[in-house]
């Protein structure tokens, strides 16, 4: 094997599998749990209206908005009716279990089990009334799924404090982190490409139109008519940050700026469009996954290098690595 190939395999292996601390995953776990708990608080008065067959979509109509073949509150209600529990009580119990699972997940107590329950119940609620879902639900679903499968309880958790989980760096933590990072890159690239295909993002009309929409309008922004370059600058900046994310979020030199840019972009959505939960959730993703270091100091880094070397020897013979090397 030529040294260049050997070096490449070594780098790729280190990039994806070098043992890492679970701190970024823990930051995501805590941030997501807090955001979803806030969302649950804001929706506490509407849960039955949104999901019950006596709510906004009454009778069998609610079934028209179920996602076929997936678990729904109606399905649970049918099961629980055998125990003489009403549909409303069943939905309240599911909602209560969902909130409890988020609390446990945020605290890192029985992290794996609570993450599985949080993901499943969030998915069930999403499937139960598709008409009410929006972007925040989609991203919560995506990252609850990842948290369920990743060792997110390996840092900043009661599981570690109580000695139930080891805080040692693991390859699984690194691999989980990389997959989530790539997902964010794909998401921003796809979003940027779609935005760039529309004229409104280039000529400044998009921000002007969005800020005038009653559902999003937080402030009187008609003064922007005298400063059209501001809306154009906003559109171009969004395109730059989203399209450039996949490139500039990786190098250390540009990473910090890009993290700040994404936080600003999404907090701007919170302030100027009132999309609080969506904006906060999105603003939290990049700093958690790219801003929190997964390294644990020099000693740990040396151990990482040794383990990576061992792993590489084991992986070199595997079909996956062989195919990438040829």
């Amino acid at each position: 094997m030529r040294p260049s190939k050997h070096h490449m395999i070594s780098n790729v292996t280190r990039f994806f599998l070098a043992p890492a601390s679970a701190k970024p995953l823990a930051a995501l776990r805590i941030g997501l749990a807090l955001t979803l708990l806030a969302q649950a608080y804001f929706l506490r008065l509407e849960i039955l209206e949104l999901f019950s067959s006596t709510g906004y979509l009454q009778g069998a109509l609610i079934h028209s908005f179920h996602i076929p073949g997936t678990p729904t509150t109606s399905m649970f209600a049918a099961w629980m009716s055998r125990l003489s529990l009403s549909e409303d009580l069943t939905i309240l119990l599911l909602g209560g279990a969902y909130v409890l699972s988020l609390v446990f997940m945020g605290l890192g107590l029985y992290t794996r089990a609570s993450s599985v329950v949080a993901w499943f119940l969030h998915w069930t609620l999403m499937n139960s009334n598709d008409s009410t879902n929006y972007g925040a639900d989609l991203f919560a679903q995506v990252f609850l799924f990842y948290l369920m499968l990743s060792p997110a309880g390996g840092a900043w958790s009661l599981d570690v404090y109580l000695g139930r989980t080891s805080p040692a760096p693991t390859s699984a933590a690194r691999l989980s982190l990389r997959i989530m990072q790539f997902h964010l890159c794909i998401m921003y690239l796809a979003s940027g490409i779609e935005k760039a295909s529309g004229l409104q993002w280039w000529n400044g009309q998009l921000l002007w139109r969005a800020l005038s929409m009653p559902i999003y309008k937080q402030y009187e922004m008609s003064w922007l008519i005298d400063y059209p370059f501001l809306t154009q600058l906003g559109g171009w900046s969004t395109l730059l940050f989203e399209l450039g994310y996949i490139i500039f979020i990786w190098p250390r030199r540009t990473r910090r700026f890009w993290i700040l840019a994404m936080i600003s972009l999404h907090l701007g959505i919170v302030v100027f469009m009132g999309l609080g939960i969506f904006g906060v959730l999105m603003a939290m993703l990049t700093p958690a996954l790219f801003g929190v270091s997964p390294e644990k100091g020099v000693l740990a880094a040396r151990e990482c290098a040794a383990t990576t070397s061992n792993l590489q020897r084991g992986l070199a013979a595997s079909p996956l690595v062989s195919s990438s090397a040829t």
């Binding site: 994806f16 599998l17 804001f42 929706l43 008065l45 509407e46 209206e49 949104l50 709510g55 906004y56 979509l57 009454q58 109509l61 028209s64 908005f65 499937n127 009334n129 008409s131 009410t132 679903q141 995506v142 799924f145 693991t170 390859s171 699984a172 691999l175 990389r178 997959i179 790539f182 997902h183 794909i186 921003y188 690239l189 796809a190 979003s191 779609e194 935005k195 295909s197 529309g198 004229l199 409104q200 993002w201 400044g204 009309q205 998009l206 002007w208 139109r209 969005a210 005038s212 929409m213 009653p214 008609s222 008519i225 009132g274 999309l275 609080g276 084991g314 992986l315 595997s318 996956l320």
Partner: protein, 183 residues
Amino acid sequence: MQTSRMLPILTLLGAVHLMLVIAGASYIDLSEFGPVGNALNYYGEMSGSNKSYGFFAPGVGAQARTRFEVIDAAGKSTLVSLERSSSHEADLRINNITGQLTANDGEEDTDDQDAARDLRRSVAASLAGKVFGRYRGAQAVIVRVDEFNPVDMPEYRQGLRPKWEEIYQAKFVQDTGIMGVPL
């Protein structure tokens, strides 16, 4: 099995998952690929890997709002909405539900048009029923859907202002169901 031995498999599964994320973001419908495609699509529903990310893309269109004209026994009418302003998050979701009254407006197939019209009517009846429940003295409820079309900057400079325009109306009375027809 030790974790280190599983790592190649996990890496491979992660790569497949990211391929599905790319397919989802590219609007590739996996259900066209037979049973395997259906299975992958179901996995996509579970994991969110089948979703696309076209938020505010390619542009911002119209916004709909739904209001309800409540008419009591004395013939007095009051305009109300379902949103109770308990939180913006709640109002946003209610707006998404009432938005079903304008969903699938652009269907070209006749069967799809019929299905969309039937669904709209059912949603309107359901929402009106909810309003009847909140306003016990109501004799009739008129569901009114308005559309807000934002105005571009050049038009705004020429004095044009955005306004709400009614696009759908249906009247419901106690016990007898729909009285009027959509506009």
